[in-house]
């Protein structure tokens, strides 16, 4: 199984990871190897196997609907790059 340069570039954009030209060649090889491994796994007969949602054989505990958190905005905003009027400021996202 091979992965194309285009696929790598697309995934990099989706994951917001900057990838250089020379890295793409290395990734082609590395990801190709991983996909080969996946191909081997795909060969196994899984017809009677339930898809696994979690490696632990346990179920989720639920929490009662009670407010347990207090306002800690000042502490969180102290480490934010930019804030104003209680809002977190980020680079503009629409034109």
């Amino acid at each position: 199984m091979t992965i194309s340069r285009e696929d790598i570039e697309k995934v990099a954009v989706l994951a917001r990871i900057r990838v250089d030209e020379e890295q793409v060649s290395a990734l082609e090889k590395d990801l190709g190897n991983i996909l080969d491994l996946v191909d081997q796994l795909s060969a196994a007969d899984t017809d009677s196997v339930e898809p696994m949602a979690h490696p632990l054989d346990a179920v989720q505990r639920l929490r009662a609907d009670e407010v347990t958190e207090t306002d800690q905005r000042a502490a969180f905003q102290a480490i934010a790059p930019a804030t104003e009027n209680g809002l977190y400021l980020v680079p503009r996202v629409i034109e």
Partner: protein, 483 residues
């Protein structure tokens, strides 16, 4: 060419839990920005989500109310995309095993027919925060108070064929979730948001056309307009021989125009995968039966009961049973006032008009059902005329006085129903209008006669200082004029 319209809906319903779906932060509306966004909501490293039991209970109640199968084991997936109001970089949602399976809702149409709209599924997920695009020195402001508010996303089958049907479904869903008490239903605050999938196909064809999705409609009116707008847009393209592009569109209700948000080629690739932070959630029969025992009377059952118990017609029963708060207001008024039909008329007339004019909901009504009922009693027993009742209503509404009988006394609204006194007034008024009396007696057209009769009422009401019983005046007039 004739076209069939095919519509499917996706509806985001904010659940009325006290806290978020994965954290103990409050979900109360209107707090100062980011004062209800804790470490989990902000996606700080090392935090873990813990699901809110109430969100599951509400989702199960919804499933039971729309005749769905409840999935006993539900799994959460991560839907990955980047946007500043989603600090984790993914939305925790359900894809493969949503908690609510296929179901259906029956809607009533204007032509009196009923139509079944199938629900494909409904899943639990978290809401995102809010981006404020006003200018903050060229930056965007982010308020994460809403981030993590529990939602159910309800997905229908493409079973609706007109804007009317889609709006009827939306209203019915609104009525169900507010009756269940799982959503406050306040659309102006985004408690329910609609995405509409629309496609056209040649009349009678079995092949579906390419669909577009119009996102984030937050009122029934905008939804109706957006559908009309999109149907027309697609029809124009198809009739010019063009093709519809599969895309997501945004509708601007204030300008009645829409624009493309993204096309299929640019469509997000969300790379879903099971969320490793959350174990599968298992729901047992005890949990489901407990949720079932919490189901209140639902709109369909209430409508039937209103017809049986109060003798309302289908139309009145439908209107009054849809909204849970309006329904209980009606019941309180009708149990006081006895005359259910008259109560229904006042609620749909003056009461609704005042609420609309002041942009209030039933919950903010300054008058109680019991007060309206007391007023209805005084109309029924002829103490006040309907004109007088309007004045009583007004005094109750403005809070001038909260007692119906006290208002009637204070404003002198009591009708004169003493026939002897009324007859005397009629005699005096008729004596002063001999020409009109002669005209009336020479007129043969019953319509014109009726109109002329009205001409005597003004002077009569004036003579009685507005307190004569109009019904009795009318009877006496006819008797005197027709001899």
């Amino acid at each position: 060419m004739q076209w069939d319209i095919v519509i499917g809906l996706e509806i985001h319903v904010q659940l009325a839990t006290k806290t978020k779906i994965f954290s103990g932060s409050s979900t109360a509306y209107g707090a100062e920005p980011n004062t209800q966004a804790n470490a989990v909501d902000l996606a700080m490293p090392g935090t873990l989500p813990v699901p809110n039991e109430q969100a599951f209970r509400y989702a199960v109640m919804f499933g039971l109310a729309v005749n769905s199968e409840i999935e006993r084991r539900s799994v959460f997936e991560r839907k990955n995309y980047f946007y500043p109001d989603l600090p984790k970089g993914y939305q925790t949602t359900q894809l493969e095993r949503p908690i609510v399976g296929p179901g259906y809702v029956d809607i009533d149409l204007a032509n009196g027919e009923s139509k079944r709209v199938r629900i494909h599924h409904a899943h639990l997920e978290e809401d995102a925060g809010k981006s404020l695009h006003e200018d903050f020195h060229g930056m965007t402001g982010v308020d994460l108070n809403r981030a993590g508010t529990p939602l159910i996303e309800v997905v229908t089958e493409p079973d609706m064929n007109s804007a009317e049907e889609a709006v009827a479904f939306a209203k019915k869903l609104h009525s169900i979730v507010t009756s269940l008490g799982i959503c406050d239903g306040d659309m102006s605050q985004g408690s329910m948001r609609f995405d509409v999938n629309i496609s056209l196909k040649p009349k009678g064809s079995d092949t579906l056309g390419t669909r577009t999705e119009t996102k984030n409609l937050n009122s029934f009116r905008f939804m109706e307009q957006a559908i009309a707008h999109e149907v027309e847009r697609q029809m124009d393209i198809l009739e010019d021989g063009g093709v519809i592009e599969q895309e997501t569109r945004l509708y601007n209700g204030d300008r009645d125009e829409s624009r493309s948000m993204r096309t299929k080629e640019e469509a997000n690739d969300y790379r879903y995968f099971p969320c490793p932070d959350l174990l599968p959630v298992e729901i047992d029969d005890t949990f489901i039966e407990d949720a079932r025992s919490r189901l209140p009377e639902l709109p369909d059952a209430r409508k039937t009961r209103f017809k049986d118990q109060y003798g309302l017609n289908d139309y009145d029963a439908g209107l009054l049973s849809g909204d849970a708060k309006l329904a209980s207001f009606f019941e309180e008024a009708a149990s006081h006032g006895k005359d259910a039909k008259l109560t229904a008329n006042w609620i749909q007339g003056e009461f609704s008009a005042r609420l609309n004019a002041e942009e209030k909901t039933v919950a903010d009504s300054p008058i109680t059902g019991a007060q309206l009922g007391d007023m209805i009693i005084r109309i029924s027993d002829n103490t006040i005329s309907s004109a007088g009742a309007k004045k009583v209503f007004d005094a109750l509404w403005t809070g001038e006085n909260d007692n119906v009988d006290a208002i009637i006394d204070a404003k002198g609204l009591k009708q004169v129903s003493d026939t002897g006194a009324l007859e005397k007034m009629v005699d005096e008024v008729l004596a002063g209008m001999p020409d009109q009396v002669a005209q009336f007696q020479n007129e043969e057209d019953p319509k014109k006669r009726k109109k002329m009769l009205g001409g005597f009422m003004g002077p009569l009401m004036k003579a009685s200082k507005g307190q004569g019983n109009p019904k009795l005046f009318n009877e006496i007039l006819l008797k005197k004029l027709e001899g």
